[in-house]
């Protein structure tokens, strides 16, 4: 990944893969209501992909805001299986963990490349992923930790 376009293509591919992962899990989901939840997740990833495509075409900028709040909910949760009888709580954990891994990857890359356009893209992608993580963490905070 040496050029901005290569990096964006990689990121777009990742979003596509995650969208497909949720869509296929949705087909197998056994618990009531989980098909819809997972399809919502899949559509969310599709939106991310479209946003990145727009960035690549110069129609959009990567996350302009400064800092995205890190609720740090994900960091202390155990790993869970994305099994067919996945619950809403576990589906959110899977989603949060994926966003966190992506955030980590782009942050690490940003730390490895010299100042310049490429670094900016990695920083921008990391912030995008941090925003996605915040989206899922807020849902977890609201709906799973309802009494906490």
């Amino acid at each position: 990944m040496n050029t901005v376009d290569e990096v964006l293509d990689y990121a777009i591919g990742q979003e596509e893969e995650v969208a497909a992962f949720y869509a296929s899990l949705a087909q197998r989901a056994e618990k009531a209501g989980m098909k819809d939840v997972l399809m919502d997740f899949s559509r969310e990833e599709q939106r991310h992909k479209e946003r990145l495509l727009a960035v690549k075409q110069g129609e959009h900028e990567l996350t302009p805001e400064q800092n995205v709040v890190d609720l740090k909910i994900t960091d202390y949760l155990v790993d869970v299986d994305a099994s067919d009888d996945i619950s809403y709580q576990d589906a959110l954990i899977v989603a949060m963990k994926r966003e966190r891994a992506a955030y980590r990857l782009y942050s690490d890359m940003a730390g490895k490349v010299p100042e310049g356009e490429l670094k900016e893209v990695f920083v921008g992608l990391a912030k995008e992923e941090a925003k996605h993580k915040l989206f899922f963490e807020s849902q977890y905070d609201e709906r799973v930790l309802s009494d906490n």
């Binding site: 056994e30 618990k31 009531a32 209501g33 098909k35 819809d36 939840v37 709040v69 890190d70 609720l71 740090k72 960091d75 202390y76 949760l77 155990v78 869970v80 619950s87 809403y88 709580q89 576990d90 954990i93 915040l134 807020s138 905070d141 609201e142 709906r143 799973v144 930790l145 309802s146 009494d147 906490n148």
Partner: protein, 468 residues
């Protein structure tokens, strides 16, 4: 008066006493000694004085989820006509002895008497009427004489939602069979709410009257295990589901499967069944809702020192402020903005340790309530005999087949109900905690009543197929 005498204070004229007639309660030292009911109830004279404070504006009626006829039942206290009061209450709520004790009392939050003082004690007055009339007079006074429509309805779950539906369906003459997984009726009111807030005798007074109308009870019968949903849909003219939220959410943190970690619902269930949950002498309760508060207060009664760890602030706790206050008075220590991150063995054998971090509240960028953010440099580890987890609970809808799920609308573990609690499936109605947002007794009771009306319309052909 100021020099010159120019200021004149506007006199405040009130036609009611701003202060509520005080309710006698057990003191905290005494209350933690046993499971005796904490609130003693009004005497006749106290109830009449409290009833006198009502200005009969009727604002509370709209706010009560069941739209109870509050001003009229309060007037019946002033008139000393408790039979009339009881009749009025049963029009919209067949759980007056219960709601008179533990209702979330949204009505009181809008009572205008509260603007310059304390709202009328609507809940305690409801309890007063129910307590005045002996159980063996209910039948004569209420004079419910169900006919026979020839139609049969299955109700799944004998909590307040299911039993309220059963009552109003019987009044319409429909035969009702209630399928209940446990060996007694009452749902979370029996197996969750502890007896120092709601004694079994009060709950049973409500339930026994409903059952006396000829409701058939099938206890120890879990739908999905002992009988299948398809059989009910085939064998009955309509089905009402009110199965509640019985699955404790897991914290999903490292070490949670430690043998000294228990779910709050399990502790409450053990106590309700007269068993000792074996919590030991020092307990940490995780959470800030009803279950956390009751688990903490029950633990105090079992002789434990109790610390509640809660992620947010006191004002964010979903538990009733009155309960939080009573818990604190009973010696429960509340540590706010404390986020558990790991459970492990304590140094002393047989005990458990919990690592938790302090939290800072940050504004929600999307305008929601402030959210706690863990401060990783401020971590603590404490040891206890038991950790009770009470962070929330969800539904178990596995008794619904995959094909039926396709037809039903379920979001975040709850059914989406349409008009009259109907679903998209022919003859299937839903209500209570498993279908509403508020998850309190009176909402479940109202859902049951509403569903009974819907089912009656459906059975009499007034509402087509019954599907939304």
């Amino acid at each position: 008066m100021a020099a010159g005498g120019a200021t004149t204070a506007t006199p405040t004229i009130t036609c009611f006493h701003p202060k509520r007639i005080e309710m006698e309660m057990l003191g905290p030292e005494e209350s933690v000694e046993s499971f005796t009911e904490v609130v003693k109830g009004y005497s006749e004279e106290q109830a009449r004085l409290e009833a006198d404070r009502c200005v009969e504006c009727g604002i509370c009626v709209a706010t009560c989820p069941a739209h109870m006829d509050v001003p009229d039942y309060i007037r019946s206290i002033r008139d000393g006509d408790y039979a009339k009061g009881l009749k009025l209450m049963y029009r919209t709520n067949p759980f007056p002895a219960t709601c008179g004790r533990i209702c979330t009392r949204r009505c009181e939050s809008v009572c205008p008497v509260g603007i310059q003082g304390e709202p009328v004690a609507i809940r305690w007055l409801k309890r007063f009427i129910a307590d005045q009339v002996p159980a063996d007079e209910y039948q004569r006074i209420l004079n419910d004489q169900p006919g026979s429509s020839g139609r049969q309805v299955a109700v799944i779950g004998a909590g307040p939602g299911g039993m309220s539906a059963a009552y109003y369906l019987r009044r319409k003459g429909h035969a009702v069979t209630v399928f209940e997984a446990e060996d007694k009726a009452g749902g979370m009111l029996r197996y969750g709410v502890p007896s120092y807030r709601l004694p079994d005798a009060a709950l049973d007074k409500d339930l026994d009257y409903i059952r006396s109308l000829g409701v058939e009870m099938k206890f120890n019968t879990r739908v999905g295990r002992d009988i299948q949903m398809a059989e009910l849909l085939d064998g009955y003219d309509a089905v009402f589901i009110s199965t509640g939220l019985w699955v404790p959410s897991s914290m999903r943190i490292q070490g949670e499967e430690h043998p000294r970690v228990m779910a709050g619902l399990r502790v409450l269930d053990e106590v309700a069944n007269g068993r000792d949950p074996g919590i030991g002498k020092s307990v940490a309760v995780i959470g800030g809702g009803n279950v956390a508060m009751d688990a903490a207060r029950v633990s105090r009664r079992l002789g434990a020192e109790v610390t509640i760890l809660y992620r947010r602030r006191i004002e964010d706790m979903p538990a009733d402020p009155e309960e939080i206050h009573e818990a604190q008075a009973e010696g429960v220590r509340i540590v706010i903005q404390a986020i558990p991150v790991e459970v492990m063995d304590a140094e002393q054998p047989g005990r458990v340790a919990i690592k938790w971090g302090e939290a800072e509240m940050v504004p929600d960028p999307n305008g929601g309530r402030p959210r706690p953010v863990l401060q990783e440099e401020r971590m603590h580890t404490d040891s206890f005999d038991t950790i009770i987890s009470a962070i929330g609970q969800g539904s178990d809808l596995d008794f619904i087949s995959k094909e039926d799920q396709e037809q039903l609308e379920v979001k975040w573990g709850k059914f989406i109900a349409g008009d009259y609690q109907a679903t998209r499936m022919q003859k299937l109605f839903v209500g209570g905690d498993v279908a509403n947002r508020t998850a309190d007794a009176i909402s479940a009771i109202e859902d049951g009543h509403h569903a009974a009306r819907g089912i009656d319309r459906f059975l009499s052909g007034a509402a087509g197929s019954g599907a939304v």
